[in-house]
């Protein structure tokens, strides 16, 4: 009963999130590897950059902007998509791995509640992974910009055209796009976490097959496809709800194309968030009541 002075105040949430990053280093390694591969590819492509910049002069400003913007857009998409895929696989294993390797009883022997544990695991796809992806994507874009500027300067071309045509608001657009997607995909992450806490093994099959079966069953029984279109809406809906109407078809470069009010007032967002919260609550209960095998 005599807590020594060298024992710091416990911070279960902070250490539980760090614990997740120790175990799942792919959370930051995967985006970094993708960024590195992309930069290598871009470096090789800079050999033709001066010729392409000169050829650009014949186009109008809008077309110029599209061409100049392309490498930055691709870099960001690749990094962010990688982050999302890592998040999906992370969720499928998050509450399953500790039961599979039986370490759950060790974690449960420590004064950390099931709520803290589940929330710390949910924080990876909901906060940590998106932030890491954003930082890596931004750094990659900056590296692309620096490389291009250097190559142009070395070849005696004024990089002013490049800088003038580059929509720097794209960083803001990227942050917005990332945020709305995390919120929109919340029920997907919640569902995957729940299944990983429930299924003994084959979490991917347990997560995907029931959805597929319901969609098929509906098609056969009623000849309708409401469930399937609901799933499609969940995958694609963020683009429709969070950006101005025509945006889904064109490239999004400017803040004027964002529609945060429309997004926040779409029922799909809130239904999804409630579903995600219900999944997490169920995952907490499951972790608590799962008896040691």
């Amino acid at each position: 009963m005599n807590p020594s002075s060298n024992v710091p105040e416990p911070r279960p949430m902070y250490w539980s999130v760090r614990r997740e990053l120790w175990e799942n280093r792919s959370v930051y390694i995967a985006p970094l590897v993708v960024a590195a591969v992309y930069l290598l590819g871009f470096l090789i492509s800079t050999m033709t950059l001066p010729r392409r910049m000169n050829a650009l002069a014949v186009f109008g400003p809008v077309s110029q902007q599209m061409v100049v913007f392309m490498p930055y857009s691709i870099a960001a998409s690749m990094v962010l998509l990688t982050g999302f895929i890592v998040g999906v696989f992370y969720c499928l294993d998050a509450l399953n791995g500790e039961r599979r390797d039986r370490s759950i009883l060790f974690w449960k022997s420590l004064p950390v509640s099931d709520l803290t544990t589940v929330l710390s695991k949910a924080s990876i796809p909901f906060a940590v992974q998106p932030l890491v992806s954003f930082a890596v994507a931004l750094a990659t874009q900056l590296a692309v910009l620096l490389l291009s500027t250097l190559v142009l300067l070395v070849n005696g071309i004024n990089p002013a055209t490049l800088w003038a045509r580059l929509p720097f608001q794209m960083s803001l657009v990227m942050l917005y796009g990332l945020t709305v997607h995390v919120l929109w995909f919340a029920p997907i992450f919640g569902w995957l976490l729940l299944v990983s806490g429930w299924a003994r093994r084959a979490t991917f099959l347990w997560a995907a097959l029931p959805l597929f079966a319901i969609a098929q069953g509906e098609q056969i029984a009623f000849g309708t496809s409401h469930f399937a279109s609901m799933l499609r809406y969940r995958l694609e809906g963020a683009m429709v709800e969070a950006f101005t109407d025509h945006a889904a078809k064109v490239r999004i470069l400017r803040p004027s194309q964002l529609d945060p009010v429309g997004f926040l007032s779409s029922p799909g967002l809130w239904i999804g968030l409630v579903f995600a919260a219900a999944c997490l609550a169920a995952a907490v209960r499951l972790r608590r009541s799962r008896e040691p095998a």
Partner: protein
């Protein structure tokens, strides 16, 4: 306040009954051995005490309900089990960081001092350590926790005798004091009988015998009976009899020692002998 207080503890898995009305009363400062055959309900009882399994009946550990207050309870309870394995991917330094980060009663300096006596490398991952080293690491973590109750469920399963001996020696010399309570299950009961203050025999979900070691010593007597006296000895109602090298060894519960001494060599039986006698009685 008793460390563990249970009344009518029941637990069923489907139709099989793991705990069938267990009453327990464990005072602070005791070292209790929970002994029973496989499937007797030992682990289920410990899981209930640790808040890992729901149960019927009354159970209070350090005054708390383990099932609803596990995370609070674990500030005062430490736990080593053969099945509560350390994750294989974690590094020694990371597990020290983590436990230090979440546990209000973890003294890292103590854990480091214990590890310094072993050959465990801080940078190693658990999967790179031998089974004995993993047990040492787990013990180092637990001994650095200023817990009031330590639960050990087959903590030395699969370890060789040197590690087993070292494990219990460290536990008793460096950890145990009269303000802590230890509850331990093991199959190697004779190895720990010197460290126990109390013994609980459990069979088919019921406590068949629960008493202090002093009581065991005063109650039970084992006599290696001279062949001429076998009939006389049997007349005194032994609870168990076995043959060793042609000599009969009879075990008595509550018999008069001087009377037994006349029949052969009397000595205090080991826990294992009492266990066989008591458990064998109703089989």
């Amino acid at each position: 306040m008793a460390t563990i207080e249970a009344r009518g503890l029941r637990k069923a898995f489907g139709t099989s009954i793991a705990l069938d009305g267990v009453d327990l009363h464990v005072e602070e400062g005791r070292v209790v051995g929970l002994v029973g055959p496989n499937g007797a309900g030992k682990t289920t009882a410990l899981n209930a005490i640790l808040g890992l399994t729901p149960y019927q009946g009354e159970l209070k550990v350090l005054g708390r309900d383990p099932w609803t207050e596990r995370d609070h309870l674990m500030r005062d309870v430490a736990f080593i089990s053969d099945v509560a394995v350390l994750p294989r991917w974690i590094r020694v330094s990371q597990v020290l960081d983590y436990v230090g980060g979440v546990h209000p009663r973890f003294d890292r300096a103590k854990a480091e001092a214990f590890l310094a006596k072993t050959t465990i490398n801080r940078a190693s991952k658990v999967k790179e350590l031998s089974k004995g080293m993993v047990a040492q690491l787990h013990l180092a973590l637990v001994m650095a926790i200023d817990a009031r109750l330590l639960v050990l469920d087959e903590p030395t399963l699969g370890l060789d005798i040197l590690y087993r001996k070292q494990f219990y020696d460290s536990l008793l010399n460096d950890y145990f004091d009269r303000s802590r309570t230890i509850m331990v299950t093991t199959h190697q009961v004779e190895e720990i009988q010197d460290v126990l203050t109390d013994i609980l025999f459990i069979d088919r979900g019921r406590i068949v015998l629960g008493c202090s070691m002093e009581e065991v010593e005063s109650r039970y007597a084992q006599v290696m009976v001279h062949p001429d006296n076998v009939a006389a000895a049997r007349a005194l109602g032994p609870i168990h009899e076995r043959q060793v090298f042609g000599r009969s060894i009879l075990l008595f519960d509550g018999a008069d020692r001087p009377q037994l001494a006349a029949l052969g060599d009397v000595r205090t039986p080991g826990i294992a002998d009492v266990f066989v006698a008591v458990m064998g009685a109703d089989r």
